[in-house]
């Protein structure tokens, strides 16, 4: 028993180091002065600690603008995707209609489609519709690409909820909408949060569309903006500032996961019906 404990501990340590080492490296970079990153023999930890990088990055209006774009676009895309996916998944789980299988397979097909192959057509399309370099120009594709996964996740959750829950609510005097809102959605909350997080991650981290469908900071998101952090000398990019910007964009994700982790409690439905 002791041996397995030790084994588990060592395993954890190895995995932690493996996963966290790059992050620690980025963190350490972000506290180094620029000169230190360009010296020939870098140290792992900063020789002199500085907050200058953070001041610079947060005073960089292009970066803060990109941060705003990222936040707005990701949040709106997530909200829309979750709302549409919830309604669609509910219909798929509960209703019998023609073409149900078609909808599901189409959703899957979209999820499997390589994003890169759509960049060219979308670029032309968006220019024609004046959506190029706008928020909706990114929100629409982000929403479309995350909907399939969200629909599949949510319809699985809805299927798990017994029909009787809803029927009981209707007998108790609820309209279909009230039954959906007061009984089904709360029960599917873990699924909704899961879908929301996945969607948000996708929109927050997406790079190919963000770089291709924007031309100025009016809609460019952080991952795209980072590629413009070249500094004065092309051959000596400001690594410490890049690292700092990466840390800044990672923080919201970490906070989000910690917040929602509490909400994603499995077994919320246990005890609804016969145990």
């Amino acid at each position: 028993m002791n041996r397995t404990k030790v084994g588990t501990g060592v395993g954890f340590a190895v995995i932690l180091v493996w996963c966290l080492l790059p992050i620690v490296w980025i963190l350490s970079l972000s506290f180094k002065p620029v000169q230190e990153t360009t010296t020939g023999s870098p140290h792992f930890l900063p020789q002199t600690w500085t907050l200058q990088n953070y001041k610079d990055v947060l005073n960089n209006s292009d970066f803060t603008r990109a941060l705003l774009n990222s936040t707005g676009i990701a949040l709106i895309a997530t909200a829309l995707a979750v709302i549409f996916a919830t309604l669609a998944a509910y219909a798929i789980a509960r209703l019998e209609f023609r073409g149900k299988r078609l909808v599901l397979s189409l959703a899957l097909a979209i999820a499997m489609f390589p994003v890169v192959s759509l960049v060219g057509p979308l670029f032309d399309l968006w220019r024609t519709f004046h959506l190029f370099n706008t928020w909706p120009g990114l929100i629409i594709p982000y929403m479309s690409f995350t909907l399939p996964l969200a629909i599949w996740t949510l319809s699985a959750f809805f299927r798990e909820i017994p029909w009787e829950m809803e029927q009981a609510a209707q007998v108790d005097g609820a309209t279909s909408w009230q039954a959906f809102r007061k009984v089904i959605v709360p029960l599917a909350a873990p699924g909704v949060f899961t879908a929301a997080i996945l969607t948000f991650f996708f929109a927050w981290n997406e790079f190919v569309l963000a770089i291709s469908l924007t031309s100025t900071t009016s809609a460019r998101t952080v991952p795209a903006q980072l590629s413009f952090f070249v500094g004065s000398d092309e051959f000596n990019p400001p690594y410490s500032q890049l690292a700092t910007a990466s840390v800044v964009v990672t923080i919201p994700i970490v906070v989000l996961v910690l917040l929602f982790q509490r909400k994603i409690v499995a077994g919320l439905t246990s005890g609804a019906v016969k145990g």
Binding site: P162, M165, Q170, V171, G173, T269, G271, K274
Partner: protein, 387 residues
């Protein structure tokens, strides 16, 4: 409170199969009505049509004199307890019970009063702040009932509410439901496949088979005057014995011998050829435990006891017999219909617990042919009903 009238209710599914076929039942105001039958007989479908969770293909459903066919469940003001309780797991017991009241937009004060009253009635006071997931089966059952009684609904509908409980709890909850219904005096329709629940709870019982109403009567009438083979075989445990019989004059010939029967019964059966006789297990007795003076020896026969089950207050003995092939086929069919599977043709007799008959031994048994029923084997109809 209201009466429920079902007029020629039909439910056909997409494939044209009638799950409920032309059923008319009047449930009087305050009456406790039971719908009973083997699985797949359409009893739950009928209940769900009353509450509005299934569409009615044809016929009229009236609650309190008002046709409700096209009303949504929420507009029918009926309360239902589901088989699996269907409690809302994200709400506390208090909120579960308050749910219908909140939907009806009652005042906070009224909601609190009603919930407290219901929780007191159902002994749920200490559990009000708990979630359904942490409750036992019996407690969940009571919460489901609480949610039904706060409503001031026109009627209660129960869909096999006790089938998920263990035997002991089921007995307790059964009396609890009976007491509650008597006290509230509310019209109740109760679906079950358990004939003990049917017999003990119901003012009247509707026996259904394959979507068709077989008999609608009081429990006593069902037991003593079943209208056909199906009802006779379904009601009673152990079930009624069915034996091939021929009637000549006042004599009936059964596999064990020929016995006299009342003239009235004999007349009804005259000229019908091979019949099916039905005798309840308790209408047999071991001759050795009856007062010798009281035994009509012409109604006794020798039987070989195969197996004996002593239960304390009574005992069951099993007497195998050979039946002709055509009769056997009929008995098998009947067994299938009532959801039991008897492997052999045998007589089940209920004897006094004092009887000392031994297994694998012969005994002399008395048969009370006054209480015997005669059925037409072709139609299943009871020829001696009312006698």
């Amino acid at each position: 409170m209201a009466n429920i009238e079902m007029k020629n209710i039909v439910k056909k599914y997409g494939d044209g199969f009638p799950a409920v076929n032309d059923i008319s039942i009047d449930v009087a105001d305050g009456e406790f009505m039971i719908l009973v039958g083997p699985s797949g007989c359409g009893k739950s479908t009928l209940l769900r049509m009353i509450v509005g969770l299934e569409d009615i293909t044809s016929g009229d459903m009236l609650v309190g004199g008002k046709r409700v066919n096209d009303l949504a469940p929420r507009d029918r003001n009926l309360a239902m307890v589901f088989q699996n309780y269907a409690l809302y797991p994200h709400l506390t017991v208090y909120e579960n019970i308050a749910f219908p009241l909140r939907l009806a937009k009652r005042s906070e004060k009224e909601i609190d009063e009603k919930v407290r009253e219901a929780s007191k009635t159902l002994d749920l006071d200490e559990h009000l702040q708990r979630k359904p997931g942490n409750l036992s089966g019996g407690q969940r059952q009571r919460v489901a009932m609480g949610r039904a009684i706060v409503r001031d609904a026109q009627a209660f509908l129960f869909d096999e509410p006790l089938s998920n409980l263990d035997a002991k709890l089921r007995g307790q909850m059964r009396t609890e439901i009976a007491r509650l219904q008597k006290r509230l005096g509310i019209t109740t329709v109760y679906v079950t496949h358990d004939q003990t629940e049917a017999m003990t709870l119901g003012d009247r019982v509707a026996v259904m088979k394959r979507g068709v109403l077989q008999q609608l009567a009081t429990p006593r009438e069902l037991y003593e005057q079943p209208v056909n083979l199906f009802v006779a075989g379904f009601i009673g445990s152990p079930p009624m014995n069915f034996l091939p019989a021929t009637v000549e004059g006042n004599q009936v010939t059964l596999p064990f011998g020929t016995f006299g029967i009342p003239t009235a019964k004999a007349e009804r059966a005259a000229g019908k050829g091979l019949l099916m006789a039905g005798v309840r297990p308790e209408h047999f007795e071991d001759v050795s435990v009856i007062d010798p003076g009281k035994v009509d020896m012409s109604r006794t026969f020798k039987a070989h006891i195969d197996v004996r089950e002593w239960l304390g207050d009574q005992q069951y003995a099993y007497v195998p017999y050979e039946a002709e092939a055509n009769v056997q086929g009929q008995l098998k069919e009947l067994a299938r219909e009532v959801d039991s599977d008897s492997l052999r043709t045998q007589l089940v007799v209920s004897l006094d617990s004092d009887s000392t008959v031994k297994e694998d031994d012969d005994a002399t048994l008395f048969i009370d042919t006054d209480k015997l029923h005669l059925f037409d084997p072709a139609t299943g109809e009871n020829l001696t009903v009312g006698l």
